[in-house]
Amino acid sequence: MAEILVNKYTPKDFKSDQEVRWCPGCGDHAVLSSVQRALAELSIPKEKFAFISGIGCSSRFPYYMDTYGFHSIHGRASAIASGVKTANPELSVWQITGDGDALAIGGNHFIHVIRRNIDINIILFNNEIYGLTKGQYSPTSTKGLVTKTSPFGTVEEPFSVGELVIGARGKFFARTVDTNVALSTQIYIEAAKHKGTSVIEVLQNCVIFNDGIHDTIADKEVRDDRTLILKHGQPMIFGKGNDKGLILDGLKLKVVKLGENGITEKNLLVHDALEYNPGIQYMLANMMYPEYPVALGVIRAVPWPTYERSVHEQIEGIQKTAKIKCMDDLLMSGSVWEVE
């Protein structure tokens, strides 16, 4: 993507004239606002943005952005966005999706876009429920969750988004909370700058059908002690007053208290988002409360060649030495004969 310096935008420049129709109190409002802030910071001309979505509450997102947008069909946004980016690598392509759209009906496209490493920024709104169809369990719903289609509790194991991304050989995974606008904005900027598929899991609150599902870790009162905001090159430290940290204990992560048993900041793990080997990042992505804090921030960001660049480089390379330059050349190539 050509990063041409343009006049600074403000978040308002990215607001469309459409009335936002999400429920009052829905986490989506905050995500929209964070994305608009991030885009204003990016120095990418507005006409270069394309927002592609599938179906679900979050997928209405493109209508509220004053950019090019395509609200498509359920589960297929990854495939459509793949086509957009491959056709025109100059665009900054964003996919807006949810836990049902990306991980249930669209699971196949989701893992394959990641495997190919197409430079698309995927914002996955994870509210662990189907909102638009009014309250059925999703592939990320906690086992046992009572919903309209699981009146006695689900008996299914949920997906962990980060685990799936790494399993699909993903190179960028980040996690944020809808209401944390500052952290979210920063992550969206980093995702945009990362070349390759970036998956950002947003722990998003559905105020109607799954209200408070992330409160255990995201509520203001407890979040400092129950989440860890990862920063590349920084020690893994968290807690009110930065009193806790993570160390590697054998083959597992372990929460430690600074000052206890002689542990200081120097003993803590230092976050390396650029490391290709996903071992530690995998454990970080899968940390669950109460045993661990939930990891936020950019967990993995490994530089890697992108699909669309490789496609176009291959074409350009072949064209340099190709004998066939136009259709007339092709039509007359090989075995042809004259009839007089």
Binding site: A79, L330, W337
Partner: protein, 614 residues
């Protein structure tokens, strides 16, 4: 290369190469047809192979065939019955016995007619006797033995030696038809550039077959088919899949757009994806997707981003793509969906031909969801109709379903190569910056096509999608707006009628029977109709390429005939469609659903019966 025995001049001849699916019959047939084409014969070919790559050896299920019909005059079909059958094993006799012309020639590999193989093919002792072929011109050639002899000092392993059997047989056929070996020899030199030993082995086998046929002189008479009287120009052989791929590339060049194909491999459509994947020299972007749905969705994304986008598939894949076709209808983006039809339903007969996806193409979606439907009728005109499909999609901002079939996709014929300058320019309705504020669903007054605002243009930012919209692009649940938009989308497709060609009547424009066909059965129908005409019957043919919309002059053509007989390889889908669209006529039907094309006699006999009952 030696004296010929009795030579017989023939207008046309049909040869069928048949053997195990590992015997290389497709290559043998292709090399023979290329040689005949270079000589100047008109021809038509039909490969007929099993779905299994290597079905159990020696069984009838594993027989792979390649039929070539070549002639001094115009050839429109691969032919019903063969003059010459090359049978590499007893199973090949079993599969083809009823398709040999009475008194025809059968060349078979004696060495492969072992007790075991005879039994595997379902015979007791002697296939020739059991099939009552003893009065035919039967040539039992010791092919396996001869290639072993010819290559014994060559240092090849026994398996590789036996692989040249097909070239020995081909050499015999070249002698029989008085064709030169040089094209085939050059082919081997190129193919085995890095394995000169293999090139030499194949050439030795080829020549051994040629000389063997000369020596035994059993192969009399020798057939002679003079070059065909065909229009001046430069020709090449082409199959339907390649022709379609090239038609799309030609359209992209004429429109000044990049071509994008998003597809998932499926028989018999894969050839289109393969051909386009190889054409990076012409800048084609090929995306082999994770499934059929992603195939069309990546293509639709590329269309949104400003490419000429194509997705190719066959019936089962078409089913998976239907929701995305609906999205393309709603988003009003240009897109060509190729369906190379095969026998269905479900997995059906993957390698066989059928025309049973017509209703699927026309109506197989939720909601009121009209698309343009175009069908090709010969292997080479896949180029023209693929080009047309792309042109209409781009200029009218609509998905177009392009129907081919297994018979067209794999069949080849000589094709007079067009010049790019003779093809029409394609002008998509691109939005420009004068249209700010951009209204995504504002339409051209004449075509009703909306403007195409490709991402990247400042000021034209807009949103489209699957939800119903107003002209402004705002989501709307307004009942009147929905009905209006449904009608506009339908009207847009209807108006394509203004730029499609009228139906052409082959024969007199009135008479007793009008044979009606569509798409790929053209070759059989035109041959049958011409033979009926030559016998003095008042029979004419129309073959439809434009299915939706139908050409303007349908009514005018139909009303001049006493009977309308719709012939198609399904249970009557086009006949039913005509019953909806042109209710004032009565339609009779000739149908066949065997995974095979019509035979000329099928059509002739049934037409004659109808004429007798008039």
């Amino acid at each position: 290369m030696g004296k010929k025995s009795e030579v017989i001049e023939r207008e046309e001849v049909v040869i069928r190469f048949s053997g195990d699916s590992g015997d290389g019959m497709q290559l043998t047939g292709t090399l023979f047809s290329d040689t005949a084409a270079l000589f100047g014969n008109d021809l038509s070919t039909f490969p007929d192979y099993p779905a299994e790559i290597r079905a159990p050896q020696g069984t009838v299920g594993g027989v792979s065939g390649f039929q070539v019909h070549l002639g001094h005059s115009e050839i429109n079909t691969p032919g019903d019955f063969s003059d010459v059958l090359v049978a590499m094993n007893p199973a090949a006799i079993k599969a083809n016995a009823k398709w040999i012309k009475p008194g025809g020639t059968v060349i078979y590999d004696e060495g492969n007619f072992t007790e075991k193989n005879i039994e595997k093919a379902g015979y007791e002792k002697d296939p020739i006797v059991e099939e009552k072929l003893d009065g035919y011109n039967i040539i039992a050639a010791p092919i396996s033995f001869m290639v072993k002899e010819a290559l014994k000092d060559f240092g090849l392993d026994p398996k590789s030696v036996l692989r040249t059997k097909n070239m020995f047989a081909l050499g015999m056929i070249y002698w029989l038809f008085d064709r030169k070996l040089d094209y085939t020899e050059e082919y081997f030199e190129k193919k085995f550039r890095n394995k000169p030993g293999m090139a030499e082995a194949n050439k030795i086998a080829l020549r051994a077959g040629y000389y063997y046929a000369e020596t035994i002189e059993a192969l009399s008479p020798v057939y002679k088919i003079l070059p065909a009287q065909i229009a001046k120009g430069t020709y090449r052989n082409i199959c339907g899949n390649t022709a379609a791929a090239w038609g799309f590339m030609a359209a992209a060049e004429k429109a000044g757009l990049k071509l994008f194909i998003g597809s998932y491999p499926i028989t018999p459509a894969t050839g289109i994806l393969e051909e386009l994947a190889a054409r990076k020299d012409l800048g084609v972007i090929s995306f082999q997707a994770e499934d059929e749905i992603a195939g069309i969705c990546t293509a639709l994304g590329a269309s949104f981003a400003g490419n000429l986008a194509v997705t190719s598939t066959s019936g089962p894949g078409m089913a998976l793509k239907s929701e995305a076709i609906g999205l393309a209808v709603m988003a009003e983006l240009p897109l060509v969906i190729v369906n190379v039809q095969r026998g269905g339903p479900s997995t059906g007969l993957p390698t066989k031909t059928e025309q049973a996806d017509l209703m699927q193409a026309l109506y197989g979606r939720n909601g009121e969801c009209p698309v343009v439907v175009i069908a090709a009728s010969t292997p080479s005109d896949c180029f023209h109709f693929a080009f047309e499909s792309a042109r209409i999609a781009l200029e009218h901002m609509t998905p177009v379903v392009f129907l081919s079939d297994s018979y067209l996709a794999n069949g080849t014929e000589p094709w007079r190569i067009p010049k790019m300058k003779d093809l029409p320019k394609i002008s998509p309705p691109f939005a420009d910056r004068k249209e700010i504020p951009f209204l995504p669903y504002k339409r051209d007054e004449e075509t009703l096509a909306r403007s195409w605002a490709v991402p990247g243009i400042p000021g034209l930012e807009h949103r489209i999608g699957g939800l119903e919209k107003t002209v402004k692009g705002t989501v709307s649940y307004d009942p009147e707006n929905h009905e209006l938009m449904v009608k506009l989308r339908a009207e847009k497709v209807e108006r394509v009628v203004n730029e499609i060609s009228d139906l052409v009547v082959h024969g007199a424009d009135s008479g007793d029977i009008l044979v009606v066909g569509w798409g790929g059965s053209y070759g059989y129908l035109i041959t049958a109709v011409r033979e009926l005409q030559a016998a003095g019957h008042k029979v004419s043919l129309v073959n439809f390429n434009y299915i939706n919309p139908l050409p303007k002059n349908v009514k005018d053509v139909f009303r001049r005939f006493k009977k309308i007989v719709v012939c198609e390889l399904n249970m009557g889908q086009f006949a039913d469609y005509l019953r909806i669209k042109h209710q004032e006529f009565t339609y009779e039907q000739i149908n066949k659903v065997q995974g095979l094309p019509f035979t000329i006699n099928d059509i002739k006999d049934k037409c004659i019966k109808m004429l007798e009952n008039k």
